[in-house]
C-alpha cells in the first residue's frame, strides 16, 4: 500500500510504502529507509507505537483530510492520501498552491470585515477577510498572488469551520 503524506508547511508529498505484517505490526518504507513498526490502536484515537525499542504514545486528531499527530509533546500535521484519492484530488489542488485556491474559515466565527471584492488583484499574503472568534480578530491572507473570482464572505455573518470565504485564481 502506498500513501502520499504531505507535512503542513512543506511543498512536496512523500511516498510511504506500508506493508501490514499482521498482529498490529507493519513494515514502512520512506525515503529509502525501512522501519518495523508495532502500532497498537487504542480508544480515543490513541496509538501506542514501538519502533526500534523506542516507545511512543501517539494521539491523533482528524480534521477533514488532515491528521494532527501528537507525539511526545510535538504536533505535526499531515495530509495523507493513497494513490486513488490523490488522483481524485488532483483537480482541487490540495497538494499545491497552483491554480484555483479556496480560502475557508479556519474556525467558526463571525466575518467582521471583507477586505476585497470580486475582480480585485491580490498579492500573496494580502489580507482578504477578517474573522472574529473568541474575541480575537484574525485576518485571513491570500495563499497566492492572483485575482479574486468568487466571494462568499459577508460582513456581519456567522461562519462555520471550513466555510467557503474567497476564491483566488
Amino acid at each position: 500500500m502506498r500513501y502520499f503524506t504531505k507535512q503542513q508547511g512543506q511543498k512536496e508529498a512523500l511516498p510511504v510504502d506500508l506493508e501490514p505484517l499482521g498482529n498490529d505490526k507493519y513494515r514502512l518504507t520512506v525515503g529509502g529507509k525501512t522501519y518495523e513498526v508495532d502500532a497498537l490502536m487504542l480508544e480515543h484515537g490513541t496509538m501506542t507505537m514501538l519502533v526500534d525499542g523506542q516507545s511512543y504514545g501517539v494521539e491523533f486528531e482528524e480534521n477533514g483530510d488532515e491528521v494532527g499527530v501528537l507525539l511526545r509533546g510535538q504536533v505535526n500535521r499531515f495530509d495523507v492520501a493513497d494513490e486513488r484519492r490523490l488522483r481524485l484530488r488532483a483537480g482541487n489542488a490540495a497538494f499545491s498552491v497552483e491554480g484555483k485556491q479556496l480560502v475557508t474559515a479556519p474556525m467558526p466565527g463571525k466575518v467582521v470585515k471583507v477586505l476585497v471584492k470580486v475582480g480585485d488583484e491580490v498579492k500573496e499574503g494580502q489580507g482578504l477577510v477578517v474573522v472574529e472568534a473568541m474575541k480575537m480578530e484574525n485576518e485571513l491572507k491570500s495563499p497566492k498572488a492572483g485575482k479574486v473570482t468568487e466571494l462568499f464572505a459577508k460582513e456581519g455573518t456567522a461562519v462555520e469551520n471550513n466555510a467557503k470565504l474567497v476564491v483566488v485564481e
Binding site: Y3, T5, V16, M49, V67, V80, A81, M107, P108, N161
Partner: protein, 504 residues
C-alpha cells in the same frame, strides 16, 4: 456586617468555579448565571443554583447588569462575586448592587472610579506621588491632536484604551507613518471590548519587565501587599506565563515596590484584592502602569507562595472582617502559572473553539489546574480563548520550571488546538530559564518558540500518520461494504457475512 450566606458568581469558566470552590469550603451557597452558549458549562453544575441570563454574546447576557441583579434576587443571594472580566471593574454595577441591597465582593465604586479609567488613574497616582510612565493624562479630542502629542514624546509610543485591559485596544506604534491606522484600530477595538473608545498615549519603554504587586485592604484602613508576580511573558499584551517571586527582584526592590503599591491603594481608599501593575526598566526603575481593581487570572501563584486563599480573604473583607495579617509573608518557594489557550500558535495563534473530544489533565505533587472544561465540552466561540490555568509550586525556581514542564507533558487536549506545546517551548527557552526575560521576549523569540521541532519525532509522526491512514481505510472498508457486494478491501467478504459476524 452580617455573614454572607449565598454568593452569586457573575462569571463563567474557570474563575466562576474557582470562586465557588472557596464558597463551598466556607459553607456559603453558590449561584451560577449562564448564557445560552453556557447551558452545558461546568460552572452551572458546580453551583447549587443556576439562572439563565440571555443569548451567547456577553453584551446581551453576562454584561447586562439588571439580569444579574434579578438572578441574585430570585436566588436570594446576599452577595455577588464578579470574578475577573465582565462586570468586575464596573463601578456602576457596584452601585447597582448596593442599591439592590446586595454585597459586592470587591472594592468600593469610588476606588474603581479612581482607577478604572486609566487616564484618571494616572492623574491620581501623580497626585499621590507614585511614579508613572511618561505620557498623556487626558484623552485626545482628535486624531491630529494625538499625532502631535505622539511626535512630541517621541516614537515608539504605546496606544492604550483608557477603559481597557487584557491587551485589547492596545498598540505599539513604531513610527509616525503607522500612527493613524493604529490609532483607528485601537479605538475600534476599545469600543468593541469596553464600550468606550477613549485611547491615550504612553512613552514606550525599551525592554521593560512587567512586575505587579498584589495588594489587599480591609474596611478598617489596613492595607498590605502580598508580594509580586512577574508577568513579562506576554503576547499581544496578554499574559501567557506568570511566576513569583520575580527572578529580577531583590528583597529591597520588593519592599520599595510593595510600599508604593500600598500607597497607591490607600490613595483611593481601596478595599479587597487589587493589583498594582508596574513596568520595571533596565535600570530597575519602576513606573505605575495601572491598577486592576479585582482578583486576577494569575492569583494562584500568589496563593501557592503565601499559602493564602485570596477568594476567602475577599469574602471576609466584604463581611467587614479585619485582615488576618499585618504584612506580606516571606515568599515561600517558587510558583509558576501557564495559561492554556484554545488557539493554534503555528497559525498565528488562531482561536480554536470546538468540542473537546478527549482530555487528560496533569496531576502529581504541587500541581493545580484551574479549568472550566471537561471531556465532551464544546468550547464556545463567544468568549476568551483561555480554557485553563496550570500552576505549580516547588522549593526553588529551577524545580518549579521542571515541574511545570512535567505537568505540561501530561496535559492532553483533543478536538481543539491548544498552545500547550508553545508553553513547553517557553519554559525550555534559555532566556526564560535565565530569568531575565522582558515584555518583548515572546515576540522576539517567536520563531524559536515555534520552531523547536525534533526531526526524529517528525519522522516518527510521519510513520504514525501512514499507519493511521491505513487503519482508517481498513475500518471504512469494514463498516462500509461496497454496493457491488465486494467487501471493499477485506478480501471480498460479502456484506451479509459481515453482518452475521457482528451479530455473533
Amino acid at each position: 456586617m452580617p455573614k454572607i450566606r449565598k454568593v452569586l458568581v457573575a462569571n463563567r469558566g474557570e474563575i466562576a468555579i474557582r470562586v465557588m470552590r472557596t464558597c463551598k469550603e466556607l459553607g456559603i451557597a453558590t449561584v451560577a448565571v449562564y448564557s445560552e452558549a453556557d447551558r452545558a458549562a461546568l460552572h452551572v453544575r458546580t453551583a447549587d443554583q443556576a439562572y439563565f441570563v440571555g443569548p451567547p454574546p456577553s453584551r446581551e447576557s453576562y454584561l447586562v447588569q439588571q439580569r444579574i441583579i434579578d438572578a441574585a434576587k430570585q436566588a436570594g443571594a446576599d452577595a455577588i462575586h464578579p470574578g475577573y472580566g465582565f462586570l468586575s471593574e464596573n463601578a456602576s454595577f457596584v452601585r447597582t448592587c448596593e442599591a439592590a441591597g446586595i454585597t459586592f465582593i470587591g472594592p468600593p465604586a469610588s476606588a474603581m472610579d479612581a482607577m478604572g479609567e486609566k487616564t484618571r488613574a494616572r492623574a491620581n497616582m501623580i497626585k499621590a506621588g507614585v511614579p508613572v510612565v511618561p505620557g498623556s493624562t487626558e484623552p485626545f479630542a482628535s486624531l491630529e491632536e494625538a499625532r502631535v502629542y505622539a511626535e512630541k514624546i517621541g516614537f515608539p509610543v504605546m496606544l492604550k484604551a483608557a477603559g481597557g485591559g487584557g491587551g485589547k485596544g492596545m498598540r505599539k506604534v513604531e513610527r509616525i507613518a503607522d500612527f493613524d491606522s493604529s490609532w483607528r484600530a485601537a479605538k475600534s477595538e476599545a469600543m468593541n471590548a469596553f464600550g468606550n473608545d477613549a485611547v491615550y498615549i504612553e512613552k514606550y519603554l525599551e525592554k521593560p519587565h512587567h512586575v505587579e504587586i498584589q495588594v489587599f485592604a480591609d474596611q478598617h484602613g489596613n492595607t498590605i501587599h502580598l508580594n509580586e508576580r512577574e508577568c513579562s511573558a506576554q503576547r499581544r499584551h496578554q499574559k501567557v506565563v506568570e511566576e513569583t517571586p520575580s527572578p529580577i527582584l531583590t528583597p529591597e526592590l520588593r519592599a520599595k515596590m510593595g510600599e508604593v503599591a500600598v500607597k497607591a491603594a490607600k490613595a483611593v481608599n481601596y478595599v479587597g484584592a487589587g493589583t498594582v501593575e508596574f513596568l520595571v526598566d533596565v535600570h530597575r526603575n519602576f513606573y505605575f502602569l495601572e491598577m486592576n481593581t479585582r482578583l486576577q487570572v494569575e492569583h494562584p501563584v500568589t496563593e501557592w507562595v503565601t499559602g493564602l486563599d485570596l477568594v476567602a480573604l475577599q469574602i471576609k473583607a466584604a463581611e467587614g472582617e479585619k485582615l488576618p495579617l499585618t504584612a506580606a509573608p516571606e515568599p515561600r518557594g517558587h510558583s509558576i502559572e501557564v495559561r492554556v489557550y484554545a488557539e493554534d500558535p503555528a497559525r498565528n495563534f488562531m482561536p480554536s473553539p470546538g468540542k473537546i473530544t478527549y482530555l487528560r489533565v496533569p496531576g502529581g505533587p504541587n500541581v493545580r489546574d484551574d479549568s472550566g472544561v471537561f471531556p465532551g465540552y464544546t468550547v464556545p466561540n463567544f468568549y476568551d480563548p483561555m480554557i485553563s490555568k496550570l500552576s505549580v509550586w516547588a522549593p526553588t525556581r529551577r524545580e518549579a520550571i521542571a515541574r511545570a514542564q512535567r505537568a505540561l507533558s501530561e496535559y492532553v487536549v483533543k478536538g481543539i488546538t491548544t498552545n500547550i506545546r508553545y508553553l513547553k517551548a517557553i519554559l525550555a527557552h534559555p532566556e526564560f530559564i535565565g530569568g531575565d526575560y522582558d515584555t518583548s521576549f515572546l515576540t522576539r523569540e517567536h520563531e524559536a518558540l515555534l520552531g523547536v521541532e525534533d526531526a526524529k519525532l517528525s519522522e516518527m509522526a510521519l510513520l504514525a500518520s501512514a499507519v493511521h491512514a491505513y487503519q482508517r481505510d481498513q475500518k471504512r472498508a469494514k463498516t462500509l461494504p461496497s454496493a457491488s457486494g465486494q467487501g471493499g478491501g477485506t478480501g471480498g467478504v460479502s456484506p451479509w457475512k459481515l453482518a452475521l459476524r457482528t451479530r455473533r
